[in-house]
Symmetry: C2
Subunit: 326 residues, 2 copies
Amino acid sequence: MAKLIIDAMGGDNGSRAVVEAIISYLNKKPDTLFTVVGKKEELEDLKDKVTIIDARDVVPMEAGALEVMRMKESSMYKAIALYKEGGYDGVASCGSTGAFLSLATIILKNIPGIKRSALVAPFPTKIKNKYVIVLDAGASNENSPEEMVQFAIMGRYYYQAVYDKAEPSVYLLSNGVEEHKGSPNGQQAYKLLKEKKLPWFKGNIEARYVCNGDADVVVTDGYTGNIFVKSSEGMAKLVGGMTKSIFKKNLFSRLGYLFVRNGVKEMAEMMDYRSTGGALFLGINGNVMKIHGNADSYCFESGIKCLDKLVQGRVTDKIKEALKNE
Amino acid sequence: MAKLIIDAMGGDNGSRAVVEAIISYLNKKPDTLFTVVGKKEELEDLKDKVTIIDARDVVPMEAGALEVMRMKESSMYKAIALYKEGGYDGVASCGSTGAFLSLATIILKNIPGIKRSALVAPFPTKIKNKYVIVLDAGASNENSPEEMVQFAIMGRYYYQAVYDKAEPSVYLLSNGVEEHKGSPNGQQAYKLLKEKKLPWFKGNIEARYVCNGDADVVVTDGYTGNIFVKSSEGMAKLVGGMTKSIFKKNLFSRLGYLFVRNGVKEMAEMMDYRSTGGALFLGINGNVMKIHGNADSYCFESGIKCLDKLVQGRVTDKIKEALKNE
C-alpha cells in the first residue's frame, strides 16, 4: 500500500484529468492512500476518497527556480513541502518540468553523493513488450563524465525495478561503437565506466540501434538526451501520420484498414508515450514523478502506476545503498 | 553537361552497383561525361561509355587520415587527385566517409574562409515532397559557434540549389525555442546569427519539430547532428518494421494490404534514404559527394543525380561569392 501525494494543478488539461485518473486508479488499487493538493472546489469528486489539501496558486509553465520557491501557496510547492515532512512514499505532478525539478532539488535535495538528477525516458523496441530507457532525457543541459557514470548506476536500478529484469545491459549513447568515439565528456565517461570493470557496462551504442532490443539502459548527457528523445518522437509522429493518411485515402483503403485494425491498435499502444505516464527524477532524495504536461486521465493514471511501481521496487533506497558501496 | 569522376570501389555492394548506376544514368542523361576509377577488370561493361582509370588498391573502411594519404594507388586517392588537377565538375565515392573527408580536406582544401566542412542529411517532412536538410550530420565531432554560423550560410545555398526554393528558412537545432536554450556553443551561434540580422534566420527549433515542414535548413554541431540523424533513422525503421509486420500477420491482413498498396509504396519512397543517394561535403573547395556506403545501384544513381544538380546549381561557387561579401 503506497501513500502518494498528487499535485492536481498545472497540467494542460486541468485538474479534471487528474481527478479522473485518481478515481480510476482507486477502482483498481483501492488500498492506495492519496493526498491531493489543488483548488479544493475542483477536487469535489474526490472528497470521500482522498485527503484534499487546498492550494490557491498554480505554478505557471515558464516559472523560474527563484519564482517557484517564492510561491509557497502553490499546489506544487505545498505538495513537495508535504512530502519533505515525511510519512509519504512519493509525489507526482504534471506541472512545469523546470519548476518541479527546481523545487524537488532545493527542498528534497539529491541522494547523498549524487551530483545531478536525471529524467528517464522509456522507448519501445523491435522486441514486443520490451522497452529501453534513455537518461538523462533533458533534466540538465550539460553533464560531466562523473554524472554520466552515476546515471548508468541509477538507470540500472530503475530498469530492474520497473521492468523486472535482473541483469539489464547498460550502454553509452555515441556516434560510433569504438571507445574513442563520442562527445568529449562521453569519451571520458566511457573510460571511467571501463575502469570500474562493471560487467553490465556494454560500451557505446549508436543512436540508430537504441531501439533494436539489445540495450536496456542508454546513458547520455541531458542536452543530447533531449535531442534523441525529441527527434525519435518527431519521426514516430511523422511516420504514424503518414500511415494514418494512407488508410484514410479512399474507400478501398478504409476497407483495408478493417483487415489490420487490431495490429494497428496494438502498435499504437506500444508507441503511445501516454502509456508510461512520465518519468522519475532519478537521483532526487525521494520518489518524485514528473507526469507529461499534456497528460489526459489515461496518461496521468499510467504515471501514478509507474510511481507506485518505483515505490514498491524501492529504487531510490537501492540507489542509496549502492552508493555506499561505491 | 557535367564531367564527373566516380570512385567505383569501397562500397558494401562492390563495384557492380556502381557500374549499373552509371549505365542507368547515361541512359537518362547521355551527355554526362564520366571518368571512373577502380579495378579495370571490374569495369569492363563501362569501357565503351566512359573513361576508365585503373587503380589497384581499395581504401579499407577503417582507414585513418594518415593511412589513406599514403595509399596513392587507391581508387579514392586517384579520384580526388585527378579532380584536383582540374577540368572536372565533381567527384563521388561510396567508400569510407572518414577517409574520403580526410583526402578531400587535405588535397582539395576547404573553400577559403570556411573553417570546417559539413555533411548534409535530407529528411522527409509532413508536407508531401518537401524535404528539410540537417547539417552538420556528422563530419565533425565538435563545432565552434563560428563554424555553425558558416553551416547556416552554406546550408541555405545548398537548399536553394537542390530544392529550388528562393528563400529557405534556417533554424538552429536546440532543446527549446527560447534564445537561452541550447548547448553552450549553440547559444553562442544563436547570438552571432542574431547579430548579423539575417532575415532568413528564424531562431531555435526543437528536434521534435524538424520534420514538421516549417524548416528548410536546420543547423547543429556534428556530434548532435549524428545523434539526430541516427535516432530518426532508427525510429523510422522501428515504426516501418512494425507496420510491415502488421500486414504480414495473417491472411486477412495480407488482404488488407492489397487495398493500401499504393499508399504504402508512396510512403516507402518518401522515407527511402536511398532516394537521396548521399550528401555533399559542404565547404570543401569543390563538389565532393559522399554516397551511402551500402548503396545499391538505385541509391548510387540518386547520388550521381544529386551531385549533378549541385554542379548545375553552382552551390560551391555561390558559397565562395557569398563569403566575399561577409
